[in-house]
């Protein structure tokens, strides 16, 4: 690996399936030691991009370099120091968890230390390692997937929707594990369709939409672009509440919600003043709850399937 080489460098990658463009001229750069998020709704092209990184599918054009190696030049050695899983990790159901890991270790080549016991302990599967994987719960398989990845002592960990299908406790544990691994210096490339997950874990993010890049930048940049927060209001007299908003608070927007009640959008200060006025006008306030976080709102703005895709990606700041 040459000095200053990126952990992952994607340059102008395009992939088409039967006339449908799954990934369209995508470029991105993941620096060593970074936790990088690829965010997008289902079908945005995240998994296709990661499959190309792993060599499972070939791009029609463009190049993916992993620690300065490419599939064209280095074949499977491109994956030296790389581990992870695509979508939900899959194993042989008629083998035990330990047998699966031992088998995969065989396929990792020579020289790797035997860490089967250690990684089983890391993912809390000790005690269940000699049960057949066919009897594992979804969360246990997800953890076994992480264990199989750690077995390779990777420098780059690629996780595709790691929290998918997990219960809240499993999601919490998975995020905590990723954060701990990143704190140990590991480069993490993570795809997700949950804004909160990426916001919590990642330094930089690429937001994809319909195969194209809709945004590149840091989470901090993303925050500055986020719209004002929206809140769902339920009052004893919605019509009167709308009038109060329009007459006395031009800095906020109050409109009927399709799901019933009202949606008020504006700065926190403006919303606080509006609520105080409602109380002053003796309009009963039954509920006042945030609709979505500002980043979620921005995510939906950037990836809304109804809207036309941006002609060029929004690039806010350089990647580290």
């Amino acid at each position: 690996m040459s000095a200053g080489a990126a952990a992952v460098e994607v340059v102008g990658v395009t992939k088409t399936y039967a006339g449908l463009v799954a990934v369209d001229d995508v470029s991105m750069r993941v620096a060593p030691g970074e936790v990088y998020g690829i965010l997008g709704p289902n079908g945005a092209g995240k998994t296709t991009l990661l499959r190309m990184l792993f060599g499972l599918i070939r791009p029609d054009s463009g190049e993916i370099r992993v620690f300065d190696r490419t599939w064209a030049d280095d074949d499977v050695r491109t994956l030296d120091g790389v581990a992870g899983f695509i979508e939900s990790p899959k194993f042989y159901p008629y083998l035990t968890g330990r047998q699966n890991l031992e088998g995969l270790r065989l396929l990792d080549g020579t020289g790797l230390p035997d860490r089967v016991e250690e990684v089983l302990d890391i993912v809390d599967l000790t005690g269940r390692e000699d049960h057949k994987v066919g009897g594992y719960s979804y969360g246990m398989r997800q953890r076994l997937g992480v264990a199989a990845s750690l077995l390779r002592s990777p420098r780059l960990l690629v996780l595709d929707e790691p929290a998918n299908g997990l219960d809240p406790g499993g999601i919490r544990d998975m995020r905590a594990l990723v954060k701990r691994l990143a704190a140990g210096g590991l480069t993490v490339l993570l795809s997700s369709h949950h804004m909160d997950e990426v916001e919590e874990i990642c330094d930089n993010v690429t937001i994809m939409r319909r195969g194209s890049v809709a945004f590149h930048g840091t989470i901090a940049d993303l925050r500055t672009m986020a719209p004002d927060p929206g809140h769902l209001l339920r009052t004893g007299d919605d019509a009167k509440a709308v009038v109060v908003g329009r007459l006395r608070h031009p800095d906020i927007v109050v409109e009927p919600s399709p799901d019933g009640g009202l949606v008020a959008t504006g700065s926190e200060r403006g919303l606080a003043a509006y609520v105080a006025d409602l109380v002053h006008a003796e309009i009963p306030l039954l509920a006042f709850t945030p609709t979505r976080t500002p980043l979620e709102a921005l995510f939906f703005m950037l990836t809304d399937a109804e809207a036309d895709p941006p002609s060029r990606p929004v690039v806010a700041g350089a990647c580290r």
């Binding site: 399936y17 499977v76 065989l106 020579t110 590991l186």
Partner: protein, 291 residues
């Protein structure tokens, strides 16, 4: 979950120095382990061991031998004839099925379990994985054949006896020579068995479906049997993969003739090479999108 990645410098140094591709031997060990762990493969080998015993015992107890089949006339009074009777049946119906059960499933099961992405994101190339699977499937087919042959010959000799064998030309073959000829007749199954294995591997790679991978070669074998039985197709018959299964007849004639055997080896080789080459190219250029 409570620990972190192993970031000790000595570990990274060791990894940098030694990391590399998994060799064919490692992939072979992995595929063998998987095969041994499958109930189906063990049951099949057990069946190859026990089924001939049952068949020999049942047929030898019949009051009327199956006269309409080759060596059937002598099967109840001659152990070598019994072993050849079983060979005639096995070559037509059993051997393509036995080898297809493993070979037809070995690639398709990766699609079924969604595990292509699991193994191909390690340090093993598609080529090595391909050849490891091919070798394991071929190895299993040969082991099954050896078990079937050994069980048949031993049970026939023990249950029916080791009398001199009457050959296809009416010649009498002494027991020692008869045993060698029967063993050689079973050995002639190897080339077409290898070819059927390769066809099953192609079905498995191409269809990505274990049922098609297993049933495909068996149905193909049946169709070839039917076509081979038609008249006026002498030019086509040597090309059929079922024809080499009958090449052993020449060993039991007097004088012996080996022309069909050599022809069968050529036919089997062509089928094997074409099937394997096609399967390799299909797998090599395939996009792994499932799982």
């Amino acid at each position: 979950m409570s620990a972190t990645v192993d970031d000790r410098p000595e570990v990274h140094a060791a990894l940098a120095a030694t990391r590399g591709q998994a060799g064919l031997a490692a992939a072979l060990r992995w595929e063998t382990r998987k095969l041994r762990a499958q109930l189906r493969s063990r049951a099949l080998l057990l069946g190859a061991l026990l089924a001939p015993i049952a068949v020999v015992v049942v047929v030898s107890a019949q009051s009327r031998p199956p006269k309409d089949t080759l060596f059937g006339r002598f099967a109840t009074e001659n152990g070598f004839a019994m072993a050849l009777l079983v060979l005639g049946f096995a070559s037509q119906w059993l051997l393509p099925l036995v080898t297809a059960v493993v070979a037809g499933d070995i690639f398709a099961s990766e699609d079924q379990h969604g595990t292509w992405k699991t193994v191909l994101t390690r340090s093993v190339s598609r080529s090595r994985l391909f050849w490891a699977k091919v070798l394991v499937a071929l190895g299993f087919g040969l082991v099954a054949l050896v078990v079937l042959a050994a069980a048949t010959i031993a049970t026939s000799a023990l249950v029916v006896g080791r009398q001199p064998l009457t050959g296809l030309s009416g010649q009498v073959v002494e027991p020692h020579s008869a045993l060698l000829l029967v063993a050689a007749a079973w050995a002639t199954m190897v080339p077409p068995l290898v070819a059927f294995t390769c066809v099953a591997l192609l079905f498995s790679v191409w269809s990505r479906n274990a049922a098609v991978g297993i049933a495909g070669p068996v149905v193909l074998g049946m169709v070839m049997q039917l076509v081979g039985g038609l008249g006026g197709i002498e030019a086509v018959r040597p090309l059929l993969l079922t024809t080499p299964f009958e090449a052993w007849h020449g060993l039991l004639a007097s004088p012996r003739f080996t022309g069909p055997l050599l022809e069968g080896c050529t036919t089997s080789l062509v089928w094997s090479v074409v099937s394997l080459a096609t399967a390799f190219l299909v797998l090599r250029h395939r996009d792994i999108t499932g799982g």
